[in-house]
Assembly symmetry: C2
Homo-oligomer: 335 residues x 2
DNA sequence: TAGCCCTGTCGAAGCGCTTCGACTCGCTGA
DNA sequence: TCAGCGAGTCGAAGCGCTTCGACAGGGCTA
């Protein structure tokens, strides 16, 4: 491995000069800079990450805690993770992938060992165990998601309350008066995952305002679960004409089951989905939907974290405004 | 931050003794060990990762290069990534997430900076640009996937040739003589991604042996693409009674379209899928399938890499044997 | 022309850890 | 009885980098 000292010798300057060329923290004459850069090129020098971290006490690594549960909402998670990784690179950071398995201990470990300069947490619960630790530590952190108490924390998320409201507004505007909400798996609500509960809150609030009756049912993905959930819904509320679905893996089963039951979309029932753009546009009926801006969330969270690390950051909650795209799964309520 | 020296002082021993307690590389008396461990506890000591990496020239980090393309078989990737991360932790390693964006340069950067002790590469192409660099470097590496020339490399993958063969064997055994293969998106073949091509090879070889006619068509996921692909297939081969699908996002569209055309599964046509277990069992028809053992692949790749790092490793190709699970989407060919 | 500041460079002191002798015991075996 | 050994501990020398203070020289201002 080539070292700084070797580069310095090759270029005929001192080690500190090479360091300053690299960091730009002191002015260097053009001729010296060029000579050093040439030596770096020729020798194929790469600064040693460990030494750099030790000397500067900054590792240029951002830790990303993803949920362990592979059952849940996986494509969105992956999209966020990749957006985080690529955005981080453009700011000179690498990303350390932590799974939820370690739990809150991971926060302690990473902060204690100075392995990462900052952390981004996904899958935030309303009363997340990791938050107290996060507040204690001096490490920069950003949540993707919104806990019950966001005080002193920086959060990035889709505005799920507004999302829920938007869906209801759209259906109400089309004359629907009985709406069913197909939610995430029950476990998601049991963990009090922020986004799921907030969506339902937004739906209920707007429904009350608009005079719409709402029935909310959690649902595991897949056919069997969806079939059961659907038949219960129609038992309880035969007059249901609108659906809001917030579970990717329930979307296609729902559409198929409605079809099998002879209910036409959107003539008999309307469906609004809260899901990634791709799912909505590639479903068997092109879905009216509110997109989950996974990439944007990943990108913004990194930008927030980098701002904090460079001292420009503030603690604030950034909620991305939802956008509803009308496609072919919603129409006027039947008479 | 608490340092080794502080722990040493607190416990009344020298720094090196604390270090040996931590690493276990020299024998330590029970009483000293306990005293040191107590101090570590009380002070909440965590070794500084950078200092450790610098002194020992091992970072205890494994780099994982995932493909950038978010469009492509994403859930499998995520599952592998999570399996890699959790398995790595059980061996004392953390995982650095690299996207394909940087390309081969990432290999150079990581190796040069000693940021990671080893690398795991996903989404391997038959003639992958990263391989020459990998062979040059002394870093341990494992591929998830199989390039054309695996000489001197360690690879872990599902045996996709055997997978293809297994699918054909199953259909042939049921009397099917005209089989269509719905493949991955054309771009996947253009990049000469190992697994996609190997599957087709395996299919063709076994088909020839079994006297089965095969028509292979790449297919983007989603309804529009699948509809077009399907109509072309029946135009060209009206007698097609068997399908092999290797594209998660084509599965559900295919089933729906067949249904719409009045072709019953499995009475009129049989469908075998190559996809994650979950997709197969939750589809609208429970699918006969060969599972993609994502977790297993992630786990094995880490174990291989750890073996290499501890000197027990060998260069070898480990192909996981495919298993076909018969469910409700395949049956005897119609007369 | 003296004094000052600015630019560009260097030397040296760490950062916190690992690891290699080296040293001290108390034992064992000849 | 004493060399020799293993167990247990310590001190010191780095690992490769960043960064601080110092300093030389040139161009200003006064």
């Amino acid at each position: 491995m080539v070292t700084l000292a070797e580069v310095a010798q090759h270029a005929g300057v001192s080690a500190s000069t090479v360091s300053y060329v690299l960091s730009g923290k002191r002015s260097i004459s053009v001729s010296t800079r060029e000579r050093v850069e040439l030596s770096i090129q020729q020798l194929g020098y790469h600064p040693n990450a460990g030494a750099r971290a030790l000397a500067s006490s900054r590792s240029n690594i951002i830790a990303l805690m993803v949920p362990l549960r592979t059952d849940m909402y996986v494509p969105v998670m992956m999209e966020i993770a990749i957006a985080v990784a690529t955005t981080a690179r453009t700011h000179g950071y690498d990303v350390l992938l932590l799974t939820g398995e370690e739990g809150p201990a991971a926060v302690r470990r990473i902060a204690g060992s100075s392995l990462a300069d900052a952390m981004i947490l996904m899958d935030v619960e309303l009363h997340d165990e990791r938050l107290p630790l996060l507040r204690e530590t001096d490490r920069a952190a950003v949540l993707i998601g919104l806990p019950a108490d966001a005080d002193g924390l920086t959060c990035v998320d889709l505005d799920f309350e507004a999302t829920g409201a938007l869906c209801v507004e759209h259906l109400a505007g089309l004359g629907h008066r009985e709406v069913a909400v197909i939610g995430e798996a029950a476990a998601v609500y049991e963990r009090h995952t922020g986004f799921a509960e907030r969506t339902v809150d937004g739906i209920r609030a707007k429904a009350q305002e608009a005079g719409v009756r709402v029935l909310h049912r959690p649902c595991e993905g897949g056919y069997p679960a969806m079939a059961q959930t659907l038949s219960r819904i129609f038992d309880e509320r035969p007059g249901t004409t609108g659906f809001i679905v917030q579970n990717e893996s329930a979307v296609e089963p729902l559409l198929n089951l409605l079809r099998q039951q002879g209910r036409a979309v959107p003539e008999d029932v309307s469906v609004v989905a809260i899901c990634p753009e791709q799912v909505a546009s590639q479903a068997s009926v092109r879905l009216t939907s509110v997109a989950i801006p996974a990439q944007e969330m990943g990108r913004r969270s990194v930008e927030q974290v980098v701002a904090k690390l460079t001292g420009r950051g503030t603690d604030e909650v950034e909620l991305l405004a939802p956008e509803l795209t009308v496609r072919e799964s919603t129409g006027p309520a039947p008479r």
